[in-house]
């Protein structure tokens, strides 16, 4: 059997995921980062997006917002602000949030916080992608 690596996804509120996996793809700020066992030690900031985990031929998607990843000795630690596994995502809520953010961005104008609306849009998009709705 192929060598595995440990993946821990931790948020300030709880440990979301902790298992032995084959392959991890994380949304790094410089582009996607793929980790196989025995990856060289690395620390990277992450952006809001979808993290993919491959384990025994099955793929799991986790929507994460913000945070960073540390890799060392075949151990991947993801510290994210929020992390939701695909089966935990509230699709309706994410869709509503996406619509709201899009409307706000489309309306434009001075009195809206563009950065905030964009961040909200990214979060909603990441959730929908992870849930397989996009």
């Amino acid at each position: 059997m192929a060598k595995k690596q440990r993946l821990d996804i931790v948020t300030p509120e709880k440990v979301v995921y902790s298992e032995e996996v084959d392959f991890v793809v994380a949304p790094g700020v410089m582009g996607e980062l793929g980790f196989l066992p025995e990856h060289t030690p690395l620390v990277s900031a992450l952006k809001t997006g979808v993290l993919r985990v491959q384990k025994d031929g099955k793929e799991l998607k986790v929507a994460i917002t913000g945070g960073f990843v540390e890799v060392k000795n075949s151990r991947v630690v993801v510290l994210a602000d929020t992390a939701e596994r695909e089966d935990e995502i509230d699709v309706e809520r994410a869709e509503a949030a996406k619509k709201r953010a899009e409307e706000r961005l489309a309306k434009g104008g001075q009195d809206i916080d563009i950065a905030r609306a964009e961040a909200a849009l990214q979060r909603a998009t990441a959730r929908l992608k992870a849930a397989g709705k996009m």
Binding site: D8, V10, T11, P12, E13, K14, V15, G28, V29, M30, L33, T40, P41, L42, V43, S44, A45, G67, F68, E70, K72, V77, L79, D81, T82
Partner: protein
Amino acid sequence: MQNARDIRRRIKSVKSTQQITKAMKMVSAAKMRRAQEAVQAARPYAIKFTDVLGRVSAAAGSAVSHPLLEVREPKKTAYIIITADRGLCGGFNANVIRRAAKELAEYDEPALITVGRKGRDFFRRREANIAAEFVNLGENISFKQAKEIAQFVIDKYTAGEFDQVFLVYSEFINTLTQRPTTVKLLPIETPAEGEEKNEEGAKKPKVSYMYEPNAESVLGELLPKYVETSIFRALLEAKAGEHGARMTAMDSATNNAKEMIRKLTLSLNRARQAAITKEISEIVGGAEALG
């Protein structure tokens, strides 16, 4: 001596108070357990985070500059004060407030960020300078709430409106003990160096990391998060402490009520006995007079 009816009424009222305090105690016990679990659930993140932060700041070197590391002459000081939204928890709020008020006296017009209704009300009455208030945090503290508070102070600090920021909260030691604690939040004093020495002292092979994009910008990401997690932890501990304090306070209230009921019952019996004795002696006296 009070008459028997009045005493009976007192007993009844004390009993219903006792029921309330007993119920509150049990509710607090349950809530405290949950709050403690939240504190524990937050621990892995905090440990890992400090670990990575230490390493990254060591790698970034001491020359790195970041707005949150910038030490300025402390002209304007801000205090984040974490209290509970509700009372009936013994000295919990008073202890934090007293500690904060004492420290505030040393600064010239400090700005306050009050978290929790009790602290806000107190400092509002004192007409202190409240820069921001966060109330009604509810039972389940979420990281988002901590983030909001952190964002506020970070913005103010970066804008130069605050030169240093302290955090006063109640540290949860155990159910019976909560200790008011002050920590310096900004400028950040990197926890790096002390720990790094330990690692070298143990002669562990030092792993060299790749940083993406580079150590400085990773550090830039980490520092605001450090503020957030510190506040988050304080909020969680305060919540657990609040329930612990309330539980203890309600426990002693229940015991006091019990003691009071015991004493009242005793005097009720005495009063009743006295009434009976009086009646008998009146009858006897009346019979003698007739005979």
